[in-house]
Symmetry: none
Subunit: 208 residues, 4 copies
């Protein structure tokens, strides 16, 4: 492995360990010793690869956001040509086990919880949110235009869908006994089926 590769490898190692620690101990209780120990490395290492603890946390949030964005963007790319199919693929991606597992959701909520008081977190969350909204909004717009749903507001539907997904993540986090990914996806489809009945009919209502 080359020098630069090692550097990148270690950074990833530490970011993974950070996610694991926040999920296990919570944001407030996560120390650099936990992170380094979790990665099987020595105490001092973190300040060797990251300027500060805060820098590691920002890198972790970035990592999480990028990973998420890659997943839904490639889901859209792989999906069929219709906007409904693409929207459905996004839902599928949002509840993919690699994304919507309790560990990562816990970390997302940890960052959201701190976002108001840490401008950098807020900026990153906003950026991700904007990209996601642009995508879902565009798809809703296409469905409205193509399906003749003239009286519907694409913005509101896209926001509603996004909100519902985030809220369903919370259910997966807080109430895992009554909740699973399939139910979550079907709940999203119920919403889309209700607003776009012709497009999602056989996806939402019938699946129960």
């Amino acid at each position: 492995m080359r020098r630069t590769d090692i550097k990148e490898f270690r950074r990833q190692q530490l970011i993974e360990a950070t996610i694991a620690s926040i999920a296990k101990r919570g944001f407030a209780e996560t120390t650099l010793a936990d992170v380094a120990g979790g990665a099987g490395l020595s105490h001092g290492i973190v300040n060797f690869y990251f300027k500060s603890k805060e820098a590691l946390l920002v890198a972790t949030l970035k990592h999480l956001a990028e990973e998420y964005e890659v997943v839904w963007r490639s889901a859209v790319a792989r999906a069929g040509p219709s906007p409904a199919a693409k929207l459905d693929a996004i839902i599928e991606a949002d509840f993919h086990p690699a994304i919507a597992n309790r560990k990562k959701i816990a970390v997302w909520f940890a960052f959201w919880g701190e976002a108001r008081s840490r401008p950098e977190y807020l900026r990153l969350c906003n950026k991700l949110d904007a990209a996601y909204f642009e995508q879902t909004h565009s798809l809703c717009r296409q469905i409205i235009d193509q399906g003749g749903y003239d009286e519907l507001d694409a913005t509101r539907i896209a926001r509603g869908l996004n909100a519902m997904i985030d809220g369903l993540w919370l259910d997966l986090l807080i109430n895992p006994r009554d909740f699973d990914r399939e139910t979550a996806k079907q709940t999203c489809r119920l919403f889309l089926d209700s607003v776009f009945p012709a497009e999602f009919a056989d996806r939402g209502r019938s699946a129960a």
Copy 2:
């Protein structure tokens, strides 16, 4: 003020200061000195009224949960007799300025972020969630029965509504520029109008 009153008064004072501090500095950065200072009291006071910092935080979460529950329960009680009117009153309550302001939402997310690693938080969140779900589920069931929406699943609708509300809170927290309480409420009504068109027609779509 009598002795016993003072005790309760101080506890409330400290809980309010805790909420203010978490909203301002974040959960991880909130110290007892901040809380005591914010309440205009001396350092040592917190451990006089609460067994530990953790006990104060639990009391804060309880306070938040009770306040919220009182608001939506009284909204239901005050609303018109129809289940749709009651459901609409709940939405109204969920975005009442006393509840859905960035300060309190930030605190909710802080607790949710820590919930996975602190069983007591999880328990309290679950309890609140269960009570809320029971109420909205029962109303959805009534609408379905009365309105002849036989093919709809009350559980899924209630869960979807609840999720959407939580997700909209996140939007208010993260993206306050593009978002306000009115838009949020209308987004919820769009969902209900879509699934129960006869009941919410004039509440949801027309308000934009």
Copy 3:
């Protein structure tokens, strides 16, 4: 009860509670709250009857020393006329249950442990020690003079006896399973019997 009586009564109450707390929790862990609580009184009371915590502790040591002195002085007074009988009565007093119980011994050792760094404790311990030595030394001297033990050193015997008694207290404190007051007394008599065989013969060796 008159004012001054109450005052004295409360002081005694608090001193007893101090002894109980030091015996139970140790010197270092004894707080004024423990003391006040142990006496069934409120927190602030101690600083009402004593200038400071340190003043309470000094009063406690004084109380202990006075109580002890009264016991051996009255034992001497009550004993038969011979110096040997008086010496024996002192031993009896030193291991009287009211004096030589683990609770009080623990407190004595606590004060001795702190004596080097607190001049007032040292002074009080010295004063008691001097009075006790004067008494036992005088009795040893009389036995030597009357019994013709001309080659013996009264000082050394008195010091040795005193030391042995203190050391036996330590055994009662540390090693209560292998030790009891009777054994302790017989050990002292073994010493006296050995140095003054004619005076203590039937008291020491035969009792085993």
Copy 4:
């Protein structure tokens, strides 16, 4: 110095500083800041080498006990073959300046004072006491057997000697003006000379 050596060296450094601080300020007034400062190190260091303050105190007591045991055991080993010579060597060791100085005696009394309320201290004191008693008891037994002192009780003599030594330590602590190590040793020998006249004759009485 190698890494592992440093670790042990620092621990010893901190234990020495603890002894010095207890001797100077007393047990109750000894803080970790005193200890660290006394060792010329920074505040945080103690919790780096010891799990807690209590762990440091236990290690200190252990150190003291081990040091003491090594001294009397090697005194026995070096002494002449007769049990009387060995017993005498133990007395010599008990009042060796490295052991019986006011500083260390103060610390011993501090621990004895706390022993009743701290089981771990009690256990350690008991263990040391048992080992010491086993040794002196065995020597007394040999003297009795060899010297024909059939009517004497080895247990009582050993306990008496041990008690006298501890009590003489207290005199060195409390009453250093009237007391010194030589006087203390002679007091012990007076006792042994009295019970075993043939064995200690020229050691005890003549030395005054």
